[in-house]
């Protein structure tokens, strides 16, 4: 593999990496049909981000001979290459990423002014493909706004705020801090920001909805969008389905997928009788981190062709996964049989099964879900 990014795109690449670093500890690199994908996921599998750089993003793009190249590496080591954005601007003319398969090294070379070359050899690990299952087109609600609007609204909330609730009606959007129930909930300050639909470039709301997701991980995207000036699109459905934020231009597409609290564990929101309020109040609930699973987002569990292939065997819930999310969707997904609906992938993070070519003797699945990462403590193996 050999790609060269030049000029301003070097900085864009650096910013993408910095954005991804806000999500997870590792950078997953994969060469796909549409270009080069840089992805990251957080440890609880509740946030996933992917930057897809098309071949046109690069001055030169030569895909790896073995088209299914993918690897992962600690994101900090990649960040170190692109440390100072200001100096990148000033002195780096181009950035070359090469895969030296015989050495198992990813070589990133920064060609700087005055003929200076900075070469970084990064070792990587093999890994499975990391891809969340999501479908923007099927989302009932779509909002698009200039990044400034998003950044300004987020400013109203303290940087330490974890979860935020987004509610929409036919002409209004409310953003509120989500406070988990507990001893402190009565003492916490509640903040609500109400925006009119007119402030959005695009506002298409299927029905009044309210979703709660983690704000912290989103900030990485907002910083990227703000500096790139690209409008941010937001796709979401009912609680439990992930919210997808994306920015795109002709050569780059970034998608941030964040899990949302599912219906039963929906937060008790602050009722303000003075404002026109969508009827989305939910009953008080358990502290959502106890319901970690309700926060898991759909992850594709196999490499079989098809954009959103799902395993034919259902995910096996372990005892501690008996929670409201599963119960709610039990009617659609029999726990012990039948192919789960795409939504039910959201119960777990699946690994990618080896391709048939790699395991000629193995027939395709039993579709067992394997642990995706040996390091990943959250996963359990199905037998």
């Amino acid at each position: 593999m050999d790609c060269v990014a030049t000029g301003g795109n070097v900085k864009v690449l650096a910013k993408a990496i910095h954005s991804l670093s806000r999500i997870g500890e590792e950078l997953y690199l994969e060469s796909v049909d549409d270009g080069l994908a840089l992805r990251s996921v957080n440890s609880s599998r509740s946030a996933f981000a992917c930057f897809l750089l098309s071949p046109l993003f690069f001055q030169r793009y030569q895909a790896p001979a073995d088209h299914s190249f993918r690897c992962k590496m600690p994101i900090k080591s990649v960040q170190a290459v692109f440390k100072s954005l200001a100096s990148l601007d000033r002195s780096v003319e181009k950035c070359r990423i090469q895969l030296k398969s015989e050495k198992s090294r990813l070589t990133i070379t920064l060609h700087c002014k005055h003929g200076l070359l900075k070469t970084h050899n990064l070792s990587f690990q093999d890994c499975e493909s990391l891809q969340a299952v999501f479908d923007k087109e099927s989302c009932a609600n779509v909002l698009q706004a200039q990044p400034r609007l998003m950044v300004d609204t987020v400013l109203h909330f303290p940087p330490s705020l974890e979860e935020v609730n987004l509610s929409v009606s036919s002409d209004r959007v409310w953003l509120r801090n989500h406070v988990e129930d507990g001893a402190d909930s009565l003492r916490a300050m509640m903040t609500e920001l109400c925006l009119s639909s007119e402030e959005f470039d695009h506002f298409s709301v299927g029905s009044q909805t309210s979703v709660t997701f983690c704000l912290k991980e989103l900030r990485g995207l907002l910083v990227f969008a703000d500096s790139s000036g690209l409008p941010v699109s937001m796709y979401f459905d009912e609680p439990g389905s992930p919210v997808i934020l994306s920015v795109a231009d002709s050569v780059l597409e970034a998608n941030f997928v964040l899990a949302t609290l599912s219906e039963d564990s929906h937060p008790k929101n602050h009722v303000n009788p003075d404002t026109k309020h969508p009827d989305t109040e939910q009953p008080p609930d358990d502290f959502m981190s106890d319901d970690m699973d309700s926060f898991l987002i759909a992850m594709e569990s196999s490499e079989l062709p098809g954009p959103s292939h799902v395993p034919t065997s259902p995910p096996r819930p372990t005892n501690n996964r008996k929670h409201s999310y599963i119960e709610e969707e039990e009617d659609e997904q029999a726990l012990a049989d039948g192919p789960p609906n795409k939504k039910f992938c959201s119960l777990f993070f699946g690994s990618v099964l080896p391709t048939p070519s790699q395991l000629p003797n193995q027939t395709m699945p039993s579709q067992e879900v394997l642990a995706s990462d040996s390091e990943d403590e959250n996963q359990t193996e199905t037998s």
């Binding site: 609500e192 920001l193 007119e198 602050h270």
Partner: protein
Amino acid sequence: MKFRAKIIDVGCLNHFTRVVNTVSRLTKACVLRLTCDHLYFVLSGRVASGGVSMWCELSQGNFFDEFQLEGVSADANEILLEVAPENLSRALKTAQNAKSVKIKLTKKSSACLTLAAELPSLSSVSRVVTHDIPVDVIPRRLWHDFREPQMPDFDVSIYLPPLKTLKSVVDRMKNLSNSLVLEANLNGEMNLKIDTDLVSVTTHFKDLGNPPWGDDGSQSSSPHRDPELMTEVCVDIRKLQQFLTGQQVHPSRAMCNIVDRRILHLIFLHEDVSLQYFIPALA
């Protein structure tokens, strides 16, 4: 009990924000006392706060365009609320360019001060940000704790040196010692002293001037007091530093009263705000 107020002028809003920011840097919790004419932020000296007490008085008319209050009862037309000034500060921070800010007492799951700011927006409809700040209503039987502190019978009253200078001296002294002695006399002279095993440092200020308290003040009640005689108080330097660091409002007058070896009483006056801070002497 009812309270509604509104600020429209951006200058007033900024000024109010600065006062609240100052208070929030001095204490994590205080009492907000509301009367028809004034707002007070009160911290009554407790062991928990290290014995310091604070009285910050604002004249309501200088900040609010609208102010309606219905107190606890007709003869006690006041409302006292325990609040975390930091919450108020955070709420005001997001309302910086607001077209208007409304504050009212509301009841959500508990009593709250609700601050609603109308912000400029990209469309014809304003953005509205609402903050519900939880408060505790102080029952009337406890009001006596939050009365205006009496002016102590001080020995010397003196204007402070320029705050910037004072602050930088105290900042440096803080690195060397935990306690500081502040002494002053009626001749406009003030010394700040620290004394440790390793080092002693004294900073001298002169020509500071002594406020004329007139016939009521004790400055004239002891006419035979030798103007050169220093009165001193030894205080925890961190408390003094915290007070000086937090200041966001530049006072038109800054002075202190010293009760010999007992209390350091700092007074900052601005045209519509007054701030008094009492630091007890270290035992």
